[in-house]
Amino acid sequence: MITNIKQDVRRKAELLYGDASTANCLRALPHRGTLAGMVYRFGRQAGAVKFKPLSLLLKVAYFVLFYLVQMFTGISIQSYARIGKGMVVCNFSGIFVLAEEIGENFTVYEGVTVGNIRGKPRLAIIGDNVTLEPGCKVLGDVTIGDNVVVRANSLVITDVPANSIAIGNPARIVPMKTEEKVEEPKERMAQHG
């Protein structure tokens, strides 16, 4: 849990301020997104504890924390999803993430919903290095590959292959140019708190 949180904060500092020095990590700590990420990691840990009574106690504490974070930040990342290391939540309000599995280096902005849709058997599975831009919705049993950017306000209800951009409502797939693969432009991230 601690290593995961460290990775998260380090990646956030890298995205926001350029490098992951200690001062920058401390600057990224009090952000609402970071707090919500920590509570999510705590919830995962509470679910994984073997000793039953302790697990129950931790779960109650997690539920209270989760509720407070929901109220004050509007970020609801439920501990059901397995999220890899290096998750970054930028900004706050209107973030709902409920998926089966999410890979490493997941970036999420405000107004994003990852959720279920009526009549679908399972939730979304998302690969590594995925960025969900403000206001986009990923619904139903979709599978999103690695290195994908979902553009702002688009609606994804079909599968997205690796190394591509999903854009529009409903989304159409545009292959990503090889140069800008993986690398996220740092100027774009630098404007948020």
């Binding site: 919903t113 009526r118 009549g119």
Partner: protein
């Protein structure tokens, strides 16, 4: 309908639809801790308090409403004015960025996060919604439009024109993609709907 029967209808609709886990804790405790349920209860209380006849009696009844509204607006980001006329079975699922206008809404309406219904410039009338309307996450219904019964508005779509009965609309601006949508009514009758 009285205050308690309305709240009962809302909570029952939510239990029936949205909580796939069938455990006792989820059905009877967690449903009341959901921000959406709290917002609906506060709204019902406010609209009930408006109908009390001697105006002097209303003032003490407004105090708990104001406190509840502060919690709902500042804490959860859900705004439902007490002037709105909403039928029984109103469900808010999730929270934040929800703004419901003062217009009429029929029975069994489902609202997700990020939904706005409101008036546009030069169209002062708020939108009117029929029965069994489903507004997906991030949907916007703007202007003095009329939405019929059994309508599904897809996620992130923007509705600025009238929608007839039994339709599924989607996209920005919204286009009709199906004219045979009746899963809300069917599911209320107990049929099992697998896909659309």
């Amino acid at each position: 309908m009285g205050l308690f029967s309305l709240i009962k209808a809302d909570v029952k609709f939510k239990q029936q639809w949205f909580l796939s886990q069938k455990s006792w804790f989820t059905r009877n405790v967690r449903v009341f801790l959901e921000p959406g349920t709290i917002a609906v209860i506060v709204y019902r209380y406010g609209s009930w308090a408006r109908t009390i006849k001697p105006a002097l009696l209303r003032i003490p009844l407004y105090i708990p409403y104001a406190l509840g509204k502060v919690l709902v607006v500042l804490g959860f980001g859900i705004y439902v004015p007490s002037k709105a006329k909403i039928g029984p079975g109103f469900v808010i699922h999730n929270f934040s960025n929800i703004f419901i206008s003062e217009g009429e809404i029929g029975s069994n309406c489902i609202v997700f996060q990020g939904v706005t219904t409101g008036h546009l410039r030069e169209q002062p009338e708020p939108p009117k919604l029929g029965n069994n309307v489903f507004l997906g996450a991030g949907a916007k219904v703007l202007g003095s439009v009329k939405i019929g019964d059994n309508v599904v508005v897809g996620a992130n779509s923007v509705v600025i024109s009238d929608v007839p009965d039994n339709c599924t609309v989607m996209g920005n601006p919204a286009r009709i993609i199906s004219r045979e949508t009746n899963w809300m009514a069917e599911k209320r009758e107990g049929k099992k709907v697998v896909n659309y």
